[in-house]
Symmetry: C2
Subunit: 454 residues, 2 copies
């Protein structure tokens, strides 16, 4: 391992430069105007794998291709599937970026760019650790199978079919994903739970075109007002989601886990300062961490209706659109919730307004077992890379593929996050701490060795 | 009058061409990028008045100038103030216009353009009727004082000061405004009541920037969700506005007026077809016409928050903005309502979200007396121009200047509308029926004569 650690130090600057190259490719999967960039970002990664001598394919799907690369089999050692994604979130709102989202900028030890931490930067640690093994020892101590998709930010709709189709080629003992956060700066973590997601676009339509709010106001249903009514009806004043049956499959948090979460010493004041608010809210009867990690939540992610320009325009909008999502906990079924939501919203619709509910993507939440030798191996590797033993945490976000891997390949996932909670992963000024980038590479390099000994 | 009627016929085509010229000037007062066009539209009109030999001024204000023109005094005859506006509503949504909003197009007997009926086309009937008198008889039978402003669509904030300042020069016995609609095609009307308006922009602010809805969802107030809650809380399921004290000053409709409105034979089915809906709603206990003419109403005119692009973006928006308006009935005080609204919204705000309520403009509703000789004169003039006696109606929209004229100059207003309810005055494809344009000119020319005899 000493030789590898030396190699990582020697090549640290180049690793950063290469990541910067990749970040300049604006691979926004949600917006068709970036289509070519998404392809380019996938090809760029494939070239990295080919240069390492990995068997590499860009596998076409009904959407963007999957980069599929594999090192040589290692008899007697487990096979590890490393998952990541080369697509990124849209950069909006652009005007709030201090430096342009696709011209990576180093500031105060961080790398600022869309995708810096989610997920190009984090995934790249595993690419570079593989490089170190190949360059120092000619091969890896375990077989790695990389599966890097270009549609994570739009629901990974083509990953399931891909896994199904390549079921045999992807046989492995565990999945490793770095797309989560540490518990805090200097406190690495293994994430054992994720929330699922159900994301929708609600489209309401009233009159055939915008109406004068004076001549017509009071006698017609206004889609914007109806949107407000429907969206408000989805949650009560105590933060309980009102879709009938929504909580039917929610497992209540047990006292053990409550105590464990409480022992993490969550700093509410620091949390508020970090995001710039003077108070928090949420479902009654739960702590901040419990709300975000173990309870479902509801958010309106976008609203659009009528006149949004400068000044006043007295119209009754013909249409209103809302994007909304539920974060789900394990055992909640996104499809069941979609049906219940559609029925509930439909029941609230007044005459003169019709609705369409577009179901963007859904995935169940997941909790992975903590008592495997792989988890212990990961803890040792992280302690090596970060100089501190990781804590066990859950995470409020969704990595739908974790349940996909479980369902399609029958394997559990190790979530080893090198990011930080204030990395602005879906907002402006996304960043990745460069020290954590290098610690992540070191932990990853050690992980292959620790897993080989399992 | 025969000579005048002949003149109007002879010059009908030119009148249309001139109106088209004026409509090509995109005088959108709400949007700063059209600033120069607003000035140009005012100057164009001033040139029309100067060509008629009227004493004409473009009077500077703190906003756009007022076109002020006057014909010679006529001893023994009343002085008539003709009001109109040369500014227009924004043309959004542009993509829904069949022909471009500022390249007037004639189709099926209509002239399509932003401002065709609101208010350039309607005002222009009085300019052309004045021309006919001047060209045929060298002078008008009454003194006309034109006051045409460029800020009606943004609240007429500088008209009050203008009227106050020119109080003496504007002395008159009545105001004539054509900025309303007929009761239906072929059924002209005199409008005796208007609703007032109070228009706001509600700005909500949460975290310092957009947050990842997975990592943070459930523990922070979401401005978009809060916007929905506040906007929904403003009205109950029976259409009653919930701002405390909102109905305190609302005069209940009396049985007499109920009967009169019922006698107009309102066609609910035609109404629904016209605007393309399969049902209407509104305050419980009132008919469609009563709701729109005699009762206050509430509408959300615009919504903007978070991600509005293609696909899914899982954010908790940092801000949310809504435009909303109340239509008011006589005696409701916009300022009183603004204060009550602000307090009510503030009382509903959860921790972690702050609000700003921008008060765009407000005006009271108005009902004008029907038993004056001027009303009788107008009815005769309209019968001459349109070939049918007008009915007496109210209108749901606001012409705030009607109360301004009452308050500043002490005169009542005759609202003589040549438009139609389906003219799309604030929406795409605004139009003006060309036959009504010419009937309006004829009625207007006769009106000056009828008023001279009062």
């Amino acid at each position: 391992m000493a030789e590898i650690d030396r190699y990582l130090k020697e090549h640290a600057a180049r690793f950063e430069d290469e990541l910067c190259q990749w970040l300049r490719i604006a691979s926004v999967s949600a917006d068709g105007s970036y289509r070519d960039d998404v392809y380019t970002a996938g090809e760029w990664l494939a070239t990295q794998f080919r240069d390492l001598g990995l068997s590499t394919q860009l596998v076409e799907t009904d959407g963007f291709p999957v980069v599929h690369a594999a090192s040589e089999p290692v008899p007697g050692a487990p096979t590890v599937l490393v998952y990541g994604h080369y697509d990124v979130q849209p950069p909006d709102p652009l005007e709030e970026w201090i430096s342009p989202p696709f011209e990576r900028t180093r500031r105060e030890g961080n790398l600022y760019a869309r995708g810096a931490t989610d997920d190009k930067g984090q995934l790249f640690t595993h690419v570079k650790s593989a490089e170190a093994w190949v360059r120092c020892h000619g091969k890896l101590p375990v077989q790695l199978k990389f599966v890097v998709e270009g549609e994570e930010e739009v629901g990974s709709v083509n990953l399931g079919p891909f896994l199904k189709q390549r079921h045999q080629a992807l046989e492995s003992q565990l999945v490793v994903i770095s797309d989560t956060s540490q518990f805090g700066p200097g406190q690495p973590a293994i994430t054992y739970g994720l929330r699922g997601i159900a994301y929708y676009e609600l489209r309401l339509k009233g009159s055939k075109q915008d109406l004068h709010s004076g001549s017509f106001g009071g006698a017609v249903s206004n889609p914007a007002t109806v949107a407000a009514r429907l969206l408000a009806a989805l949650v009560d004043n105590e933060g309980r989601i009102q879709v009938p049956g929504f909580y039917d499959d929610v497992t209540p948090i047990d006292d053990n886990e409550r105590r464990q979460l409480a022992s993490l010493g969550f700093d509410e004041e620091a949390f508020e300062q970090q995001i710039g608010v003077t108070g928090t809210t949420g479902e009654k009867g739960y702590t901040n961490l419990e709300r975000r990690w173990t309870r479902p939540s509801y958010d309106v992610c976008g609203l659009a209706a009528g006149y949004q320009g400068e000044g006043a325009k007295t119209v009754i909008p013909a249409t209103a659109t809302a994007k909304l999502s539920f974060r789900l906990v394990p055992k909640q079924d996104p499809d069941k919730i979609t049906n219940a939501l559609r029925d509930f919203l439909q029941s609230l619709l007044p005459p003169g307004v019709t609705m369409e509910l577009v179901d963007f993507h859904g995935s169940a939440g997941v909790v992975v077992p903590l008592d495997s030798p792989y988890v212990a191996a990961a803890a040792r590797a992280i302690e090596h890379g970060f100089g501190k033993r990781p804590v066990n945490i859950r995470e409020g976000g969704s990595i739908p593929v974790v349940s996909t891997f479980h369902d399609e390949l029958g394997v559990d996932t190790l979530l080893l996050g090198w990011g930080l909670n204030d990395d602005n992963t879906h907002g402006p000024n996304e960043k990745f701490c460069l020290a954590d980038f290098h610690r992540g590479i070191s932990a990853s390099a050690r992980l292959w060795k620790e897993l080989a000994d399992c």
